[in-house]
Structure formats: C-alpha cells, structure tokens
Symmetry: D2
Subunit: 371 residues, 4 copies
Amino acid sequence: MSHNTFGHLFRVTTFGESHGPALGCVVDGCPPGLDISEQVIQADLDRRRPGQSRFTTQRREPDQVRILSGTFAEGDAPARTTGTPIALLIENTDQRSKDYGDIRDKYRPGHADFTYDAKYGLRDYRGGGRSSARETAARVAAGAVARLVVPGVTVRGALVQIGPHRVDRARWDWDEVARNPFFCPDPVAAQLWEAYLDGVRKAGSSVGAVVEVVAEGVPAGWGAPIYAKLDGEIAAALMSINAVKGVEIGDGFAAAELTGEENADEIRRGPDGRPMFRSNHAGGLLGGLSTGQPIVARFAVKPTSSILTTRETIDRSGAETEILTKGRHDPCVGIRAVPVGEAMMACVLADAFLRHRGQVGERATASFGPA
Amino acid sequence: MSHNTFGHLFRVTTFGESHGPALGCVVDGCPPGLDISEQVIQADLDRRRPGQSRFTTQRREPDQVRILSGTFAEGDAPARTTGTPIALLIENTDQRSKDYGDIRDKYRPGHADFTYDAKYGLRDYRGGGRSSARETAARVAAGAVARLVVPGVTVRGALVQIGPHRVDRARWDWDEVARNPFFCPDPVAAQLWEAYLDGVRKAGSSVGAVVEVVAEGVPAGWGAPIYAKLDGEIAAALMSINAVKGVEIGDGFAAAELTGEENADEIRRGPDGRPMFRSNHAGGLLGGLSTGQPIVARFAVKPTSSILTTRETIDRSGAETEILTKGRHDPCVGIRAVPVGEAMMACVLADAFLRHRGQVGERATASFGPA
Amino acid sequence: MSHNTFGHLFRVTTFGESHGPALGCVVDGCPPGLDISEQVIQADLDRRRPGQSRFTTQRREPDQVRILSGTFAEGDAPARTTGTPIALLIENTDQRSKDYGDIRDKYRPGHADFTYDAKYGLRDYRGGGRSSARETAARVAAGAVARLVVPGVTVRGALVQIGPHRVDRARWDWDEVARNPFFCPDPVAAQLWEAYLDGVRKAGSSVGAVVEVVAEGVPAGWGAPIYAKLDGEIAAALMSINAVKGVEIGDGFAAAELTGEENADEIRRGPDGRPMFRSNHAGGLLGGLSTGQPIVARFAVKPTSSILTTRETIDRSGAETEILTKGRHDPCVGIRAVPVGEAMMACVLADAFLRHRGQVGERATASFGPA
Amino acid sequence: MSHNTFGHLFRVTTFGESHGPALGCVVDGCPPGLDISEQVIQADLDRRRPGQSRFTTQRREPDQVRILSGTFAEGDAPARTTGTPIALLIENTDQRSKDYGDIRDKYRPGHADFTYDAKYGLRDYRGGGRSSARETAARVAAGAVARLVVPGVTVRGALVQIGPHRVDRARWDWDEVARNPFFCPDPVAAQLWEAYLDGVRKAGSSVGAVVEVVAEGVPAGWGAPIYAKLDGEIAAALMSINAVKGVEIGDGFAAAELTGEENADEIRRGPDGRPMFRSNHAGGLLGGLSTGQPIVARFAVKPTSSILTTRETIDRSGAETEILTKGRHDPCVGIRAVPVGEAMMACVLADAFLRHRGQVGERATASFGPA
C-alpha cells in the first residue's frame, strides 16, 4: 500500500475530493475475459449510497459510475475486461456550498482538518476534501470488480454493534441484512437500534459501531508470509477506511484471554476427505495464510466528529475558539462502512489470489497438502 | 508490504528459518551519516532474547548480530551509516534436532503447519521453519536501526494484559517495565502474573496477551492518506507479528461505544503557542496522519499452539490423529512480543518520516499549520 | 514500475484506450502548495497534439485536459496542489469507426496486435486499444505536473535523427526546435527532413527516428544505487514509450569504443568553487547518481507498423493472410515522441528528487561533498 | 525497482561492499518445490569469478556461496525451495588494504566516487565500496535461482564488441563462448581481441564493450503494458549493471534507419500450426510483450575509470589535483558483465513469468491466441 494505491497485482488507485468535480479509481491488474458492466458495479454502489434512510447523511448523490477504460464489447457480445486498467468515474453532483463555511478556519476535534493542514499547509476544506468518506464510493466500485476476480468467494458484511448495543449471534440471519437500514443481521437488534439511533440523530450527536466482514469460499493457502500475511493486508485495508480505530481477525482481542487448549481449532477429516475444523477461533487465517475456513474480520468505527454540540478547538492561526458543525452528516458512519468493508476485503482477496497463483501456479487450484 | 519486505523508503527484508544456519535482514534506504554499532543493535536484541526467565522458551540463543554492510568507520572515527543497504546477520546456534520429531507429519491445531503445507506443498518443519517467532529477532535488529532514523522519537512498549489479567493504568510506571520479566508497567500486576503464569507453565498450557506500544515525539503531519495512513501501516506491521489477531489505535474497539462528544479530543493553545489536546482518544492519529500527541497502539497475541495437552488433528496424508507438543516453548509468546512491537512501530515511523520529508521537504521540520 | 503505474514517491497511473470514451492519469505524491492550472498542463499537451502538420496523424483530437482532483483554489487565489492525488482526464472525441475494420482479425507485423491477443485472449482492436500511442497524452499531462515539482530543472527534447538523416550538432539551436514541425534543433536538417518525409508519407511508408532529451539544473546526488540508478529509471521510462527499441545515456553505445583515458570526464574547480567537468561522456550520471552536469539521454523509435504496403501475416485463427493498413497514421511516430520523452524524464526526476530529499533531508539542497 | 531491490513477485535484494565482510542477496517470491543446491549457484558464480585470465582483475576471490535460508532437504532427498526467502551469502576474502589509498580523497574521473560523496556526504572508498562491480556477484547468484523458475527458458550471453572490434555474426557459435576468456562467440574475433586487449592491459588503459543476451523459449505474452513492458524491465535491469550506458532490444538504434516495410517481422503459420516469424527485428518483444521469438538485448559497457594514466580531478575539499589509479582492475569490465547480463535477464523473466501467471492463470501455459 502506498499513498493512494493499494494492492500489488490487483492494484486500486483512488482519487477525488468530497466537493470536487468527480471521484473515481483506476483498477490495474484485473485478469482479462471477465464479464463486466456498469450495472454490476452500480449495484454495489447503490448499497453504499447516502440518503437512503434517515440514519445516513442526507446528501443526495446518485453515485452513477462510468467505465472509462479496460473493457471491450465485441459486436453484440457483453463487455469483458481486457486486462488493461479499468478507470471508473463518479461525478459529484450535490455539493452545497453553504455547508462548509464553519469548518474553513476551525479544526473539528476528532477530525482530519487539523492534521491535513499540519502536513500540507493547505487543505480543501469543502466537505472534508480528500478525508471525506465520499472517497469510499471509489473503493466500493473497485470492490465490485474485485468480486469478479474471485468468483467462488462470497464476501458479506454486517453491522454487529452500534454504540453499546450488540447483535445477538444466536439470531444471526444474513438475509436480514438487506431488510433494515443498518445492515444488521439480527432483526431484534435492528428494531432496538432504530429507536436508539433516532435519539442520537435528534440530539445532533453521533455514535461508533463495529462491522464484521466474512469471506467464504477461500481455499487454503492464500496469503504470504511474512509481511504480506493476509491478516496484515486485511488489517491495513480495513484500517484505511475512514474513522476506523481497530481491526481484529477471528477471536481477535478475546484471544488474549484464551488458553492454548481453548484456542486450538482441532482438525478432522471431512466427509469429502478434506480437512474440517471443529472451530474457527483463528478466523480462517493461520501464519498469515488462509485455512479454507471462512475468513472473519471485524473493525471498530469511531463516532463522526461533525456534531451539533459545541466543542473547544483552535483555528488556523492557532487561536482558541469553539466549533459546532451544522449541515448534513451521518449519525453513525459505521452503517455505510459495511459495503466499504466488504469492498476492501474483496480487493485484498483478489490481490492475494493473483499473487498466490503467480507464485505457486497450478497448485493454486489444487485442493490441499504436500506433493 | 510485499512478501518478506516491509516499508517503502525505509525498507526491511528479513530471511531465515528457526533451525536454518542463520537469520537476518537487509535494511535499505537508511539515511547516511548516522552513528551505528553492533552494540546498539545488540542492546535491543538482548531485550527480546529467549531464555532470560522461566516464562519464555528455554532455547539458548546468544542472538549475536553482525553488521555485514552499509556502515563505514573512517580511521578511528566511529562507524556511520553510508546510505547503502545494511545487512544484519544472526547465526542460529541452538537447534536441537530432537525437538521437531512430533510436528513433522502432524499439524498442530492453531499453528501455521497446515497452511504452509497447503500453500507450498512442503515446509521446513524444524521448529516451525519460517513461521517461527525466531524471525522476529531480525525485526528487532531492524528496529534498532529505525530508532536511529527518528532520534527525537521515543518508542516504548509494555505488556498490559496476560490471559484475563490486566494492568491497572493508575499504577503505570515505564521504569517498572525493565524490572520484571514481563515488560509489565504495573508492579502489582507483575507479581500476580508471576504466580498465574507459573501455573500455566507447569500445566504445559499457554495463554494470550495484549501489548501496548507508545511513540512519543512524533510531530504533526506524518503519514499519508489514503492507503498509507499511519493507522493502516501500524496495523499491518503489528498484525504481521506472529500470533497477533487484533490491533487497535487509541481507544480502538472502545471507540465504538463512544458518542461524538466523548470522542472529540478538544484542542487548546499550549503555553508554547502550539496545539495542546485535552485528551487522546484518537491515539495520536487523525485522518491517518499524526497529531503530535503520543501514538498509542495495542495488539492482541493469541496463546501458543504448542501445548502439552493432546489435541485432535490430521496428518500430512489427511488421516485423523492426535498431537501433543513436547519441547521448549513460550507459555506466553506475548511477553517477547513487546520489543518486537516496538521495533515494528519504529520501522513504520522511520519510513513515514522519510516519505513525509520527501513529499513536503522543509515543511517536515516546521512546527504546525498552513503557510 | 508496475503495470500501469510508474514512480515510487511521485507516482503516475495512466488509463485509457485509443477509441474508448476517455484517457487520463492519476498523479499521486505531488508535493502540496504548487501553483497549478489546466492551462499549464494544456500547453504541454498542445505540443504533442496530433494533426498539427502533415507529418503526424490526421486524427483531430483537441486533447483538452480537465483536473478532477488534488488542487484547490481558496477564494480568489490561484489553484494550488493539495498533496492529494491529481486526476487528469482527456476525453476522446475523434474515433472514426471505419478505420479499424482491417485490423480486427489480422495482426499487423511489427505491432502489438498479436502479443495482446496472445497474452489476454482478447483485445480492443479499435485504433490499437491500449497499445496506441494515444496513451502518451496522459504521460505528457503527468509530465507537466512533474515539471512543477523540480522548478530549477529544465527538461528539453529534440529529434536528432529521422531515418538515415541526422542533425549536425554544430548547428544545434534549442530555439529552432519550436520553429519546425519536427522538433528539430538544426534548421538545415529540418528542411532536408521535410522533403524526405514527404516522400515517405506519399509512399504510405514510415521511418524510425532518434530523440534526445536533456535535463539541465539537476544538482549532484539524485538517484539511488543499485536498482534505482537514475540511468535505469530513465531507461525504463523511455523504453516504455511506444515503439522505442533503444536507450542510451551520454555517449551510450559509442562509449564501447572509447578508452578509459578518453571516457574520463576530468574535473576542475569552477569559478564558483564548485566542481566543473571538462566533458560529459557520462551524460550527467555516474554510479547511477547525477553529477550536476546536464543529463543527456537518447532513445530510438522504430517505424510505425501501419503502412500502405502489403505484408504477410496471420489472422486470429492462425491462418495465413496479408494485410495493408489504411487510415490515419504517423509516417514518423518519433516526432511526437519528443514531448513524451520530455515528460517521462520530468517524471523520473520528480520522483528521484522526492526520494532523495526523503533519504538525505537537508543534504538534498546542499551544494556538494562530504560533511 | 526500488533502491537495492528489483522485481515485483520474484524480488531480489542485494547488499554488500567491495571490501566489507561479505556481500549477498535475498531472493524473495521464489516458487516452492524447485530442486536447488549451492553447486548450481556456484557454477554460475564461477563463470563471473575474477582472476580467471589476465584480462580480468587479479583480485583472488573464491566467491563461495552459502545458502542461509529458504531451502529444505527432507531426509535424504535433495534440497528444494520452500517458497520462503532464499538468502545467499558470499564472504569477501581478498581485500588488500593498500589498494585504496589513492582513491580515498580524490575522485576518479568517470567513477562514482564523486557522486556518492555528493549524495551521502561520506562513502566507503575501499575498492569503490557499494559502487564496485563486486556487487554483481550477488546478482549472478540470484540469477542462478531465477533460471530454476523458468526451466524451459535458456538465457545465454556473449561479448560482441571490444573497443572498435566486433564479432562477425556469420561465425557466431554459442559453443565457442566457453572456449575463450572473453565469452566471445566468434573464434577469429577472440584471437584478435587477445592481442588487442594485451596491448590495452600493458598500457594500463581500458576499453569499453558490448554484450548481447539472448533468451530462448519464452512463450508469447509475457510482460505487461504499459510501465512494466518487458522492454522497460530489461532496460532497467541491464542499465543497472555497473558501467552500462546503453541498452537496446532487437535492432535497437538501427531501427531508427529502417522503413516500416523493412521493420515488419512477417508472420507465417509454422509446421506445428503456431505462428512463425520471418525475421526478428523486434528482438522478441512487441508492445512490451514477448512474441515467442528469442528475446535479444544488447548493452554497452564503458571503459573502467581506474587507469594508469594521470587525469585531472579534484579532491574531497574541492581542490584541484591529479589522480592515477594503481592496483588491480579489469582492462575491460565488459567481459565479466556477460554472466551478469544473463543473470539480470533471467531475473526479469522469472518475475515476468510469475506476474503473467498471476494475472492470466492457466492462459500462462496456453499456446496462443484468443479464446
């Protein structure tokens, strides 16, 4: 990962600011011959789009994607990837100028306003500029391409905690995720969250959240020791999402409290002769490589720093002042982080798959074990 | 990060297996003219060295480092870095062959044995081969060089949790860290841990732990959006350490439970005219860039999978069997992960500093704010 | 360099096909605070634009550039770079569909048609797709940004040979370059070339050429041993331009015929106390690092493979056939390679400068010699 | 390529100075399961070893290689690569201290002495330090590993020109290369060179040379547009060799004089149904991708700057002085550049192969053409 590019063989470079003319990305290294269309990408973008409920920012952005390169439709055949870079463009349409007057000169506590100024000496303060979560639209578009690269793999995400309220895993239902505005897999929690978040929203406040992303269908052996461990790549990818402050794999921090006996995911021979694990404390990763079990990652999203309560801060000259942020914002940015988390996981896996196939060749499609 | 190299301008490539002839690293991109000696590197290595108490592996390794390149002493002057790659070599001396008989054909549950075989079709099973924590000796050596690159920065680590037992932050004393075999900053906790870990050790069991690493003296503005956010680089670096399953910055997962009001680190003008924060929920990072506050990261280490209790598993042929791991091992690998975590943080910061200086030049040493 | 990105700290990623909707690039790592405008970039693009004389392709493309991100104009102030990625977009407007009928199924000898099909199994054959020299418009746009990064450095190019006809270096006049359609520094040669190239053009043939690029104002010390030698970076950059088959620095291949005595660029103390070289056989580079002298590189461009003479070839099914390429093309693609060569040199130097400043800090602006 | 590492998936990092304790490399990304031994690597090193004739430096170095990691021999089976980094170590044994007295304070014209000091402010002047051609021993060792990665590919090199004297291509015989001390494929030229180079040697002078490297057996489709074109990767690799000032592919600079008709490598259907080219002006590369023909590259090596004739120069203080370099050196460094050129070509191809296999999977082993 380097500045605004991530990935090694499947490489995504994003660009764009919240209130600039457009944002987008270039996806480089995509294999050739994959069926692709703007519709497929749009479907993922629509899941992340703002303004779909009262619990996300009311900014109205169609987030319509255009493919500018890297695909080709011969005659009447559907478009396919050509192996050359795929540029994806999303125009910004709803940038209300009045919204950013307050944050031009003052630094929101808990926001990147201050650090961008400290680093660069100037910043595009309109809507947070480059540090805005709008950048994640480009990630979701790239993630839609990544999903095409690893077709046997399913990547799904869910919100598992808002503020102090967690889902009950006994009620986990993936189908439920699409039925509520929170990507919540637990219908009871979803109802509770609705009331809770209405309170937060009306108070002009915000809360944090935890997102879980699960990748199923990844065979054993993806990833690479030592510094390209899949754990590390996933951690970097998820931690790069706006407002994320923590990442864990499998049992994560809870593993600190386990004994070696408890933590051992015992292995049996499955009915198909392949390894079958009794548990998945490891979250599908051992030694940085996939085990063949579902890969399970979680990340913590802090509350939005744009709130209606006055906070003490300084301005660009260093003088003390106060700030209160009006305008449209997300009471819980963690909600829309769910499709973003999925996209990042998909990109990491696409990259890991291509590198794995590069290094081990036909072994990449072999089932298991030594020659 | 790519396979066995991490960093962009300050680049570390490690090599070596647990029971091979040697391990080491190449540190590339180190600035010229820095005073350096084997003693300085050895001091850090000695903190990580095994066999220093009954709570770490009893393998006897002097871990003596040799500098093979990249430094030059003119006449009687002390050696200085020359700007060319610094190769550091550590010979393995204590590789008891009898130790690895058990793990040759069977996969330890919770260990990388299985995934290495699945990926590569063969593995050096002696002592865990490349997946052994011995590789971290090379990281610590590299970290000692990294510390020279950012001389105003202090990187310190401490163990803050073993199994279910946490330190009391009210008793935190950095000086205490050197006085007990756990790198524990709380003398009361250290005593409790001693008794607790003796029990674990005698039972042939193991437990997890949590390590905290703090970097002080980093000025505002290091790091780079979007995919080279300092949070992401730190997360990848710490997650790449053996047995780590979670990483968090500042409040980390606890931030999910905060409101925007609670999470806002308010800013005042300090006595020196520079920004002064009222709190540090952000752990010193906003928008992926340093705020000038201490950078605070924590990581969770799972328990060692080499335990004296029988676990069910399969062998290389896929047949069901059982395993019980005799031989030397760490009852809590989290202990020796403390200097490793420091080293990784130091390497990430050295890299971030050089990149920052590259992109912004003299601004890199400026104090704060817009032009 | 990796697929469609080049550079390390100053990173350029290009995208786009000859007959797709648009092409462009993302420039990542540009320092903040540099004055920038579409006009500055357009000026460089206009020098490369097709259809400006009868000696280049008659395709009519305005090559109008739009800045999509990475710059910010506060109030009435001129726009400045913000340090975030700068996306540049150029829409394609003149893609005559009838032109590519011939090349859909047959491989032009000497063209990438065949190898793209062999690699990817499909290709965008319209106008050569990604392998078209239209991609170089994005390079020139990126190069215009690169020039802003190294303001004391002047990068100029000239055509020094067309077919068998070379310039006379005794008549070299940089001002002459803008006065003829060949970027030729020798007015006499320019006249001769006009007649010669008219003959080539009317015959539906094509010829090769040699371009020379000179960078003045680069201080001593840029570049980095061993695999990031400035020679190597320049060679890779120039060799990546369409149709280039050779690159040389300084005396280049002629150095093979020199003795050590002849090749030695003797050094004297200049009037300003700084080193002054008696000659520049080295082309401004020793050991991969700049000497402070002008950096001189040349590259050879082969003739276009689209010609009006019938050549034997095969089609996509592998059957033998013949091909004759009608439509618009450059009788000498080397001409328009001049601004492209300048752009690549500028990008390499911008990157080398940022890396150098990163590694050596304030030494980057020091004049010379040991501490 | 970045500083002291080259390659993307097959990555080589070298270290070491001429008169330091050792030099070596780390080869990362090598596929697992390849038979490997120190003997195989040593064989390549022996071809490059100094002191094998009176035409190369008289420094006596056994250049004995040790494999430190990344291979494993199970039981009595031969060692195989494990997929983890392969560290190769070569100890320096013959560093006569008296040799470098002269070059400690004075800059040899045409040598990197000056630029290293300008960049770093200090340098290891003993034997040229890092800029010494001794570094290429590590490249040759890495190249021996690279050859194992692409077993169907044969990479051979030859010296085709010394000073003004070229080989006669009509007499080209690959078997001849091993029969003379020049890697010369033309027995008549070899004789002439012997007399010529004896003169150069006795005069304490030096001359340049041209090396040709040919890779046979590379299937169509390796490489990657645009900035990872195989041409560009080869150019960077060869240009990174000490003293190289020019690189060309196929007809190279001579292509500038060709017409499109002459340059077109016409294609026929071969007896096996696969494409068969009538000529190879392209040197086996079109659009940056391999055509399936032999890949032909040449590079020019300038004369050594260490000569017995006095040259004017300055010293470290900037004062004017003279220098005459005694001690052991190569009258024609181009000779020993032959195995180095082969090694670099092998490394580039290994890397290109792994990346190609990563991006296109099973297509990597397919013969030709669209799906």
